[in-house]
Symmetry: C2
Subunit: 334 residues, 2 copies
Amino acid sequence: MTTPLQTENQFVLIYMFRLRSFIDSARNISTMAQCKLLTADNVKSFVNSFDNVLADCDGVLWNGMEAIPGSPETINQFIKMGKKVFFLTNNSTKTREEFLSKCHKLGFEATVDNIYSTAFAAASYLKNRGFNKKVFVVGSKGITQELDKVGIKHFGEGPDILPDDIVSYVKRGVTLDPEVGAVIVGFDDHFSYIKMLKAASYLLKPEVLFIGTNTDERFPSSEQSIVIPGTGCIVEAVRLAADRDPIVLGKPSPYIFDVMAKEYNLDPSRTIMIGDRMNTDILLGKNCNLQATLLVLTGVTYQSDVERLVTSPTKDDVIPDYYLPALGDLLPLL
Amino acid sequence: MTTPLQTENQFVLIYMFRLRSFIDSARNISTMAQCKLLTADNVKSFVNSFDNVLADCDGVLWNGMEAIPGSPETINQFIKMGKKVFFLTNNSTKTREEFLSKCHKLGFEATVDNIYSTAFAAASYLKNRGFNKKVFVVGSKGITQELDKVGIKHFGEGPDILPDDIVSYVKRGVTLDPEVGAVIVGFDDHFSYIKMLKAASYLLKPEVLFIGTNTDERFPSSEQSIVIPGTGCIVEAVRLAADRDPIVLGKPSPYIFDVMAKEYNLDPSRTIMIGDRMNTDILLGKNCNLQATLLVLTGVTYQSDVERLVTSPTKDDVIPDYYLPALGDLLPLL
């Protein structure tokens, strides 16, 4: 026999349990309903839903120096259809002009104004703030040339090697340039312990800006037996040494899209993002409330990842709205 | 007017609220009650509470090549009082014998068996597993000499510099040694992008062991204007590139204490840890259920940190039982 009091307590607890279950299942439904394969059935409403395309480059348009088959034709078809196409890359190793030249060489119709790279973003970020000090660069010529174009002084690019050992190095005295007002960390294939020491030391001053171009952990690579570490590994090492968080300009940070949206009056609800990486490209789409995200499987994400997303998504997953094995698969559907 | 049903619902909710408040306040009390200054009033019960002392080295016993005043006399007094003293360092740059020689030079009575460093720990970890393959070492001679002592083959120590750029490097073909069965990452002042690439590539094989000596982010340094990045920055960069977590042997991992406790039959409830770093030394004490932890302020932690711990601890704080400005302050109290 139950007393009214027991019944009421049970009611409260059961109600709370049901509310919780309802919230959990609603969350599941909202994630499960996504990551649809683009097919002849749904492509028309998809294509009509946007005017602007943000296309990631490595792993979507090309891998290394090879265009991914079908990608140039699909991008060019978008342009023919009157869509505005922007090339949006976290890669900080090239200037806008170098990317343009690569686009043309691989068959993509592009103009320099449609190319947004993180090296360009880093330079324009400082320029827009009226920055007039020096930059210590952990990065490559892509960054230093973009800085040159806006007249910002810099140093640090290229090899910086410890001639002996850290004890002798510190004993000789480390000279830091008092004119440094920012540290930019991008991809640097000459990254070294000494560069990390210098970057972290400059960042001891709270007024020195700390800019990370992006946080991608690995480059997509056709060579399956080696890992090509990405900028994210370098940014993270400096972040830990400096005990400070960087301003990250690349995807998934909305910074670059905000700049583009202002310049071209882009409506996020008429803009899509196409990418190969969940935690940068697809997350950018979510962070900027874009109309839709399209994942392609020609870069760092595989069919098995999509299967896991569809069958057992977790609350931490970033789920694309659509996916395709390759961007070129869209062409016959257009 | 309230109905019995409303009253009962309110009762349940109020009870749950009170239970939550009680848990929160109990948690606060347990953290607030710690971090006491050692004084003449509480030193006797403290000293009688332990037989074994684990002493961190950098920032507690010495800074660089200078003993911290009073530290040698205090350690030697512990030994005179019949306490067993162990020198427990996350520093992976020296062999046990080199640490012993440093101890003697700076006035600490020590024997080689009482010295536990992470270079020694890494070599003994592999030896105890019957490891018979090669080790790729991101680290210094401390590690390679300890490996030599137990007859384990290795390579990777010393400078490894990119002669040109990563694209050319990958194009030439990266040769990985198929005999590698472990990657050890310790402190490496010649850490470079290429070392990170190789380490992460070896770690693509799940059967290759991934050992990190420790995760300290910075070295304590008397030079306030520069940061000397610690092993933690290097381990983290490789961890991100490899997309795998390492086995960490140094503090706060209980690994070294477990080895010592077995060898010397140490009772954790009669053992204390003395250190300068909250997230390694003091956390080790908590992780191993040691009798007490004593924080000293001659390394990376300052009086202002202690004041914050006492006045506004957060749930993530690791709180030492006692603190002293310097280990030597204990000497007149003994």
